[in-house]
Symmetry: C2
Subunit: 560 residues, 2 copies
């Protein structure tokens, strides 16, 4: 985040000076935003950068304990420089949070510079995961930096200490945000499909119950209970990949629009990227743990690769915007869109469906038999109607409060649900759009169509309360969706292994004994066990001092 | 499990001989059941115990790689003896799985006895958790043990090698199972309420957003989004405690019945304990991780206590019966109960409500306004009707298959959902029963009533699809339940801290900086960070060898 921050917020001169140093590793930068007391509320950061016109310097200071920078990756032991986010104070006025380049450690002996306290914040979740990263703590005691180390692309402080804003619109910073979130969605697809690949392959190797006449037991992958938990995750891995690819296109599109000074789509792009970040990371974190459970006891071994994958992944639900906070931002855009309906400003992009609100509020599903649910337009309308009705219902309930902001706060749990419905619609619609494009090979298309239907119908089943309570479907239609889902599982089963092989992950990348391509799980699990250092000695250290006296009832004379 | 296994399956002489040794720690026992290739399917275990009448011994043997014992706790480095579960073979016939006491290591020097291979299976989830336990691997190469080391309470092998069964009914073994599962449910309550205590206290300390006129920001605990995720878990902590207490009573009751030779309630007791084990452990594992997320970024630090709590807890979803497998067992009992309705054998205990099936299939909720949902009988009927209708619908669908077993397999995902509905009903009904007992203090009762309503109505909201699709409630009534839930959150909020303080956990037991009783979170987090060994030196090891040459562009001459 050091480089994107300078790219996004630095002037051309700053980019010319600092980026080559960072790229050549002559300095090691970190991004110091979060503090002990403030994460989500960036505007509440407490570190100050007070301009001193006498010396043409900023004084960077940590006025409280909670203003200590906390979490920045690479800060604890390694970074030489940081982009420090601090409240800019000049001419006695607080101008809010801005970025400053601050050197932290000597380039000669790496010792912290004077008046800087810096260290590591300690152990984190898992035994590997982010414990290989020196997330750090950082405090400043009136540290002075030259004025030109403020990132001045958007706002400047003059030699005299005047705060001025350039004519570069602040909105261009959104480009970086879209880029970062797009890569998070792509990562979600990658992490989830890794876990799914491990669990699917192992479920084909693992057999349990159902042996008849001394034959093989049943492959765990053949159980409907396993399929109903695993195949929706397989479908999600594909769904997130396609929506991630689409987000890459969106990033290019929004960058071009921003450069042309067109900010009209920004609220929608903001809602869409915030929502997809939230949706995909939550589903992936839960999905990895579900895959671990689907591997039974052996999934609990580190050699399964799943504990590490989980511990590395879960912070994605919190960083770059807490997932619940992001959904509330989506909800705000939805409410605003609804309030502007009929104003002659039709909703765009992923919210465009709201333009058909009258139809969506009144239509009913026309599904009559199970396989009617294979019709993409039947599914799409269901998700549109559900999302629209939930959002409209929230808007109506909020409007009944005298104070709208109070209403928003009071109903925020419902608003989160409406935002989820909207985001699920985006993923479903992008999956369907993908299938309308050229896809090489007829067999491939069939499989992707089945996965798309599984993704959609498992959500419909899981959230059937939403669809039923908004009267879009009847209980009978809900039940037909469930029937169709079951037959889709049967349909996808013979290709399940091929569909995870298609991710093309090497055994090295998977890092899992259970997910080996060759399926040679048990011998390798056995081999792996003996590599544990505990097995270097047959009789464990301490036996003679502690255990033998215990066994021999010589406790009193033992050193215990 | 070594001691309970001998208590349950050993003869009186075996109990007299082995239990004192185990209690006095003159031997250290472990329970060796699970194998590399078999966990859930105990009847599929492959280790053999072949009787040799010539020497009056059993030959314990691991015929395949997958027959290696795998997972037993304490086995890896410490145990001197094990109860080994193996297929009893005598007179050329396989009599299925029985228990055998086998010495593994010398009591003098702790080395493995001849023809025994034993070791640790390696690292597991988390950095502490079960890594402090030496889960082990064990193989036998024709190891001989005396005949009297077979646990012979229920079945015996005579000196001549005849397999005979005593007149002690096998069902008495269920007593041990009920005891173990009851303690798992009690542990679930304890683990979940620990996590809830940490998250609730920290949510009162943590403030974010909403500062007006320079005042304090809003306590995170005041946000409805936080409340709607946290308070149902708080309520679950209480609910699981009460159902755990009731299970203790059930254990006493079933023990008395078994001793009196009354096995009539066993199927119901089995379903009930299996289901509650599954329900409470799944909810607790998910709940701990949810509490961690509710603590934002700081929840990811080990000093929060939550990563460790999670890693220690999650295996409970798999051990002592995989949670999905257990729910299918519940479903079987439900289907059997339904098939016997009207046979003059009325369902008992927690399934007694099925006796009122006609009413439950046809009744409709009478709720007209939000606070009608505070009426326990309105809630109870809703959960009974939902559980009954889902089970009956499954029974009907299964019966449409020519082969019922095929139908059961094909519809197993639906059956799992029906089983969950049944188990949630049990927890709800036991919470309601608890409130009908004497509770000291009027204020306490009010709070518990609110928690009971939160527990029930959050489930009703989460699973509203079940209630709606079975036509017990209307969308309007579902919405009223949600309104009531929201106002219950407001009602419980002022007492949230008192309700977690009431668990009476010491800071030492909680092991969490975030969950400290005194709320002094930030100074202690800061203090804790500096204790990390990485902070023992200011400049990290390796700086001069690796980092400095990098910074100075001396890569070619560096040792990297």
């Amino acid at each position: 985040m050091f480089v994107p921050a300078i790219k996004g917020s630095g002037t051309e001169e700053q980019q010319k000076k600092w980026l080559p140093l960072a790229y050549k590793m002559q300095i090691i930068g970190c991004y110091a935003q979060t503090e002990l007391g403030h994460g989500s509320n960036v505007q509440g950061l407490e570190t100050t950068a007070t301009f001193d016109p006498q010396t043409d310097e900023f004084i960077i200071h940590s006025p409280t304990l909670t203003s200590s920078k906390w979490w920045p990756g690479g800060l604890g032991k390694i970074a030489t420089h940081a982009i420090v986010y601090a409240r800019l104070i000049t001419e006695g006025k607080d101008h809010g949070v801005h970025g400053f380049i601050v050197q932290l450690r000597s380039l000669e002996d790496h010792s912290p510079l004077p008046d800087i306290t810096v260290g590591d914040i300690g152990m984190k979740f898992g035994n590997g995961a982010y414990n290989t990263m020196d997330n750090g703590v950082l405090r400043f005691d009136h540290v002075r930096i030259p004025r030109d180390q403020m990132l001045m692309r958007v706002s400047q402080v003059t030699r005299e200490g005047k705060y001025v804003q350039s004519n570069i619109p602040r909105q261009i910073l959104y480009g970086t945000m879209v880029f970062v979130r797009q890569s998070i969605v792509a990562d979600a697809s990658s992490a989830l499909s890794r876990a799914v690949c491990i669990a699917t392959r192992y479920s084909a190797v693992r057999r349990q119950f159902g042996s008849q006449n001394g034959g093989h037991e049943i492959q765990v992958l053949d159980y409907k209970t396993q399929q109903s938990r695993l195949f929706p995750l397989l479908a999600s891995g594909y769904a997130f990949r396609f929506v991630g690819e689409w987000l890459k296109w969106l990033y290019t599109d929004v960058t071009q629009k921003l450069q042309a000074g067109d900010f009209s789509t920004l609220p929608e792009v903001h809602a869409c990227t915030a929502g997809l970040k939230s949706l995909t990371t939550s589903a992936t974190a839960d999905g990895i743990e579900e895959c671990r459970k689907l591997c039974g006891g052996h999934g609990y071994l580190c050699s399964s690769g799943l504990p590490e994958l989980f511990a590395v992944y879960v912070p994605a639900c919190t960083y770059e915007g807490d997932n619940t906070v992001l959904l509330l931002q989506v909800a705000r855009v939805l409410l605003k869109t609804i309030s502007q309906l009929g104003s002659g400003k039709p909703p765009v992009g992923t919210i465009a469906y709201m333009g058909r609100i009258e139809h969506l509020m009144n239509c009913r599903s026309k599904v009559q038999q199970a396989n009617d649910w294979l019709n993409p337009s039947a599914v799409l309308e269901a998700f549109e109607a559900r999302a629209a009705r939930m959002a409209v219902s929230c808007a109506k309930n909020v409007s009944e409060f005298a104070n709208k902001e109070e209403g928003f706060t009071e109903l925020s749990a419902d608003l989160v649900e409406a935002a989820v419905a909207h985001c699920q619609l985006i993923v479903v619609s992008k999956f369907i759009e993908k299938l309308q494009q050229d896809i090489t090979g007829r067999g491939v298309r069939q499989q992707l169509e089945a996965l798309c239907a599984i993704y959609s119908l498992h959500l419909l089943h899981k959230h059937q309360g939403d669809f039923l309570s908004t009267n879009y479907i009847t209980p009978k239609q809900a039940s037909l969706a469930n029937d169709q889902l079951r037959s889709l599982y049967t349909q996808i089963r013979p290709n399940a292994i091929a569909l995870v092989d298609a991710f093309n992950y090497t055994d090295h990348f998977l890092g899992s004994v259970l997910g080996r391509y060759d399926g040679n799980v048990y011998p390798k699990l056995y081999e792996e066990a003996w590599k544990d250092p505990l097995n270097d000695s047959v009789v464990p250290d301490g036996f003679h001092e502690y255990i033998r006296p215990l066994l021999k009832q010589q406790l009193l004379t033992a050193r215990l």
